[in-house]
């Protein structure tokens, strides 16, 4: 059976990373018809929205997308392509698993966390005003339904994957109403999952605990802004954004993406590590019920990382993006 998946190659180094990942998926034997779509700088330069309506409609139609990194314009006049996709497709649950990869140096031995970030509200509603020439305000929106659906998603995932503990992260000691609502909803949802241990941490304490007692944590659930920050901290613990995968889920659609930026200064240099997008594609294959192929790709990647002969610059090597992908393909074929 052939799957249909929307492919957004992205900006900067995105196209070359996508090329590498597509080679590996193809070598796994999984048949995918890639439906090409655009978002990011190219449509913006043509005067179109950063995520054209056609791209949104294609993802709604085919339900699954794989997305390379995109450039987020800074300052006035434009919005983030990534946030636009999440908002327009109502991809409310961002999943960022982090674990100690074989062969990737990290001081965080046995790291194994799954982070769920609420994706559609909080300060990311991006509702901002100047109320006087010297005062700007931004609305932080936390709703009971918005909190409930991400919490239920995380608890359901934890239950389905045999995870033991869910930790909710907040700042309800200061934002007693907004973060307080998130925490209160978490306590209510947690009661329906008695087999899963539940606790909560204030976000600043969470930062310290993560880098000192990371083994105490299993599944984390956070409102949007804290989730953005903590998931990058955790990616660093894993070995950097170059190896950290991500997925965004809505009720109907899912978008799998590398969480790092588009690294435009390396564009076209065949230099960057495609591992993050490859592991995102592994998540995608599991979502498509291609778990066996996902497992084989993961193992082939681990083999290459552990052998250490072919490494990209971020892991201390000199191999290019395509050379690294070729090594994974070779490992994949040698195992089959």
């Amino acid at each position: 059976m052939s799957h249909k998946v929307v492919l957004i190659r992205g900006d900067g180094t995105g196209p070359e990373i996508c090329e590498a990942v597509l080679k590996v998926i193809d070598a796994s034997g999984v048949k995918i018809d890639w439906i090409e779509a655009e978002a990011g700088e190219k449509p913006l330069q043509r005067g179109e929205p950063i995520v054209p309506d056609r791209t949104i409609e294609l993802i709604k139609q085919y339900k699954v997308a794989l997305k390379g990194p995109m450039t987020t314009p800074i300052g006035k006049g434009s919005v983030s392509a990534n946030v636009t996709l999440r908002k327009k497709l109502d991809l409310f649950a961002c999943m960022r698993p982090v674990w100690a990869l074989p062969g990737v140096p990290t001081p965080f031995k046995d790291l194994d966390l799954v982070i769920f970030r609420e994706n559609t509200e909080d300060l990311y509603a991006q509702i901002e005003y100047y109320t006087t020439p010297d005062v700007a305000v931004s609305l932080k929106i936390i709703s009971r339904p918005g909190s409930r659906r991400i919490l239920e998603f995380a608890f359901e995932w934890a239950r389905a994957h045999g995870r033991k503990r869910v930790t909710v992260v907040h700042k309800a000691n200061i934002m007693k109403l907004s973060d307080g609502l998130f925490l209160q909803t978490a306590r209510e949802v947690a009661q329906r999952y008695p087999e899963i241990e539940f606790n909560d941490y204030i976000v600043d304490n969470m930062c310290m605990q993560l880098v000192t007692r990371w083994k105490n944590f299993d599944v984390l659930v956070l409102p949007n802004l804290y989730g953005d920050i903590i998931s990058d901290l955790a990616a660093g613990m894993m070995g950097g954004l170059g190896v950290a995968p991500g997925a965004n889920f809505g009720r109907d659609c899912a978008v799998f993406e590398a969480v790092h930026g588009s690294a435009p200064k390396y564009a076209g240099l065949n230099k960057v590590n495609p591992t993050a997008l490859l592991l995102s594609a592994v998540l995608m294959l599991r979502h498509l019920k291609e778990s066996e192929a996902a497992q084989r790709i993961e193992q082939a990647l681990y083999t290459v990382l552990q052998e250490g002969k072919v490494r990209t610059y971020d892991l201390g090597g000199t191999a290019g993006t395509q050379e690294f992908a070729h090594a994974i393909v070779t490992a994949l074929r040698s195992r089959s």
Binding site: T84, K87, D90
Partner: protein, 98 residues
């Protein structure tokens, strides 16, 4: 600061049926948690019961005209928050929806 409109946040179980024109103001969009849901209508979006209705005028308006807008909307709707929209040096001093 040039006053040009208002965002009026309405408490409603569905997309509120607010007037498209009130005095000098035109309804530009309705959004939910920052995402445009009208126009066009986004039937699949899961929405909360708090809707932002953006009313914008083509010219500078008075504070009294904003009060009239709120009074007009109050006849059929419950608004819980409103924010005046300004331009500063010809630039909109407010964000746009997704």
């Amino acid at each position: 600061m040039k006053l040009v409109g208002a965002d009026v946040y309405i408490w409603s179980q569905g997309i509120p049926e607010v007037p498209k024109q009130v005095g000098p103001f035109q309804l530009l969009f309705i959004s939910n948690r920052g995402t445009r849901v009208l126009q066009p209508v986004e039937p699949k979006a899961e929405c909360i019961d708090w809707w932002r209705c953006r009313y914008r005028a083509e010219r500078e308006v008075s504070h009294h005209e904003v009060h009239v807008l709120l009074e007009t909307l109050s006849q059929k709707h419950v608004w819980t928050q409103a924010q005046k929209l300004f331009e500063i040096s010809g630039t909109n001093a407010y964000s746009e929806p997704y």
